[in-house]
């Protein structure tokens, strides 16, 4: 089963939930934690994994052989991203705009363009305390997270539970991280920002037709509008975590909730069981 942990708004507790859920479930079987927040990966701070394998992620960008080039400009015409320009007797390539689609190389009538790998980040694989761990890191100055997220997800094993830590927001990196999940757990807080961004994230998972539930974090501040929204939208609130200075302290020091306060394990077991029930119900529904 693949469970993704998303939120819309950043800083609501995705990493806290993902790491504690992984550490709880390892008592029951195989668990894999994939950190797909490749712009700002944080799971490793809490899991302190031993990295055993590291793989560079690159995208193909055009390399022009100017001896063969006739400056016909077809490459610039076909590029949807303005990543290649032919002003007069010159060819300019802008690798940071290139999506690596390969159209220019294929369509160049002189076969003057080849594809060259450009490094945009790295995927690291390892283990931590009985949990298989994978994360990706986007290189500084690079724009495109999705190719790295795809590589992180390619490491997923389907013989246990896979937990995916999703980046904040609702756009392409989020969709890339969430798609193909069996369930999406959305972590939010009881504030107007938390509610606004939760509603956007719910629209995203609904577009992808993935069942979802909510973890409400820092309960005790804010207002009751997230609960009201969840009730109206028939989204189950599967776990609530209070605003507690002890929890904030543990987090600040890079200590997971279940390591610092082991009594929380039971709540995470219950959370997982509820997710299992929802996924099971749904698969029975589709069979019928």
């Amino acid at each position: 089963m693949i469970i993704s942990i998303a939120s819309g708004k950043g800083g609501t507790g995705k990493t806290l939930v993902a790491t504690s859920l992984a550490l709880t479930l390892k008592d029951r079987g195989k668990v894999q934690l994939l950190d797909c927040d490749v712009e700002e990966p944080n799971d490793h701070i809490f899991m302190k994994p031993t990295i055993s394998h590291s793989e560079v992620v690159s995208v193909p960008v055009p390399k022009v052989d100017e001896d063969k080039c006739t400056y016909c400009g077809i490459c610039a015409e076909v590029c949807a991203y303005n990543a290649i320009a032919v002003p007069g007797k010159r060819v300019l390539v802008f690798p940071e705009l290139c999506h690596g689609c390969g159209a220019c190389a294929y369509l160049c009538p002189e076969k003057a363009i080849s594809e060259e790998a450009k490094e945009i980040g790295v995927v690291e694989t390892g283990h931590s305390d009985g949990i298989a761990f994978v994360h990706g890191k986007l290189s500084i100055g690079e724009a495109m997270a999705p190719p790295i997220i795809r590589k992180v997800k390619a490491q997923a094993n389907n013989d246990g539970t896979v937990i995916i830590d999703v980046p904040p927001g609702t756009s392409c990196p989020v969709v890339e991280a969430i798609k193909d999940s069996d369930f999406c757990l959305m972590v939010t807080e009881p504030t107007p920002f938390g509610l606004n961004d939760l509603a956007l994230a719910v629209e995203t998972v609904r577009t992808l037709d993935i069942p979802c539930g909510v973890v409400l974090n820092r309960v005790g501040v804010g207002d009751g509008k997230v609960e009201k929204y969840c009730q109206e939208e028939k989204i189950p609130i599967l776990l609530t975590i209070p605003l507690d200075i002890k929890i904030a302290h543990l987090y600040s020091r890079g200590i997971t909730l279940v390591a610092g306060m082991p009594q929380w394990k039971e709540s995470f077991f219950k959370l997982f069981d509820k997710i299992g029930e929802i996924v099971h119900e749904r698969s029975r529904g589709t069979e019928r």
Binding site: G10, E40, V78, P168
Partner: protein
């Protein structure tokens, strides 16, 4: 006219609360919400929308089943594995048009889709340019660039001194688009190991694009050891820590009331934000 963009790397460190307060404090400015896929600034500024525009950007390939001869060339050549069984998965399609260019049966069309909306609004603090990217859409970077461009046009027309932009979390495409060419980046962090890790990365991005940065430590008293570490890290990198804001529940209370904290109450948090804006405006 100078532009300050508020970034953080890690989400939820307090960017929007800070920008909301700057909106109330700054005199002659235009506000821009560059977090187009989870925009929140409007919740503090109660804007009345004056102009609503469509954002057409993303292209998606569509295969005409009647013309398609199922030769398979598009499937073989698509670098994004977006075509299976002679159908395009619109979510995987990056709109490059490669398949459209090479289809021997001319069975593929590229269709533009509505990717979102952008708005020009009035608020009691001045004009606000904001946007909403459509759900599961790409091109957030382009929409951010559009928001900044519109904010700049308004600022030039009105002779405003500042543009204050609320940036997105992360370090990728929309962050780069919010940052490039800005006069100053204010980086909001918190004294957690995650906050520190993410600050280092976003600071490197600012450095990479040659944008001057200042750091603000929010909730600094949550873990003072970590706060000291951030301060010495910044000193070593030659970056100024311009402000340390204490943890206080009044920040959330103000948010629930839909008000910038400096308008909600007096106190240490408000004092600190006022002196931070004073400092930022002098550096611009």
């Amino acid at each position: 006219m100078k532009e300050v963009v508020v970034l953080s790397g890690k989400g939820g460190t307090g960017k929007t609360s800070l920008v909301g307060s700057f909106a109330a404090l700054a005199q002659s400015k235009v506000l821009a919400d560059c977090d187009v896929d989870a925009a929140d600034l409007h919740l503090l500024l109660s804007p009345s929308v004056k102009e609503k525009h469509e954002f057409w950007s993303e292209q998606v390939a569509i295969i005409d089943e009647e013309k398609c001869t199922q030769c398979g060339l598009c499937q073989d050549e698509c670098h994004f594995n977006a075509i299976n069984d002679f159908r395009v998965d619109p979510i995987s399609c990056e709109g490059c048009g490669f398949c459209f260019q090479i289809c021997p049966a001319e069975a593929i069309m590229m269709k533009e889709s509505l990717s979102g909306h952008w708005f020009i609004s009035d608020t009691k603090y001045g004009p606000l340019v904001h946007a909403r990217l459509g759900i599961a859409q790409e091109n957030s970077g382009k929409l951010v660039a559009l928001v900044r461009q519109q904010a700049k046009l308004i600022a030039e027309k009105q002779g405003a001194d500042y543009i204050v932009s609320d940036g997105p979390p992360g370090i990728g495409c929309p962050v780069i688009s919010s940052l490039s060419g800005a006069s100053l980046a204010l980086l909001v962090t918190e004294p957690t190991l995650s906050g520190m890790h993410d600050l280092e990365r976003v600071l490197s991005v600012c450095h990479h694009f040659g944008v001057l940065s200042l750091v603000c430590i929010n909730k600094y008293d949550l873990n003072e050891d970590n706060t000291h570490q951030i301060e010495s890290y910044c000193t070593n990198r030659g970056v100024e820590v311009a402000s340390k804001i204490p943890f206080d529940n009044v920040v959330t209370e103000a948010l629930v009331q839909g008000l910038p904290i400096v308008e909600y109450c007096q106190g240490k948090v408000t004092d600190e934000i006022e002196s931070l804006w004073h400092h930022v405006s002098h550096m611009l």
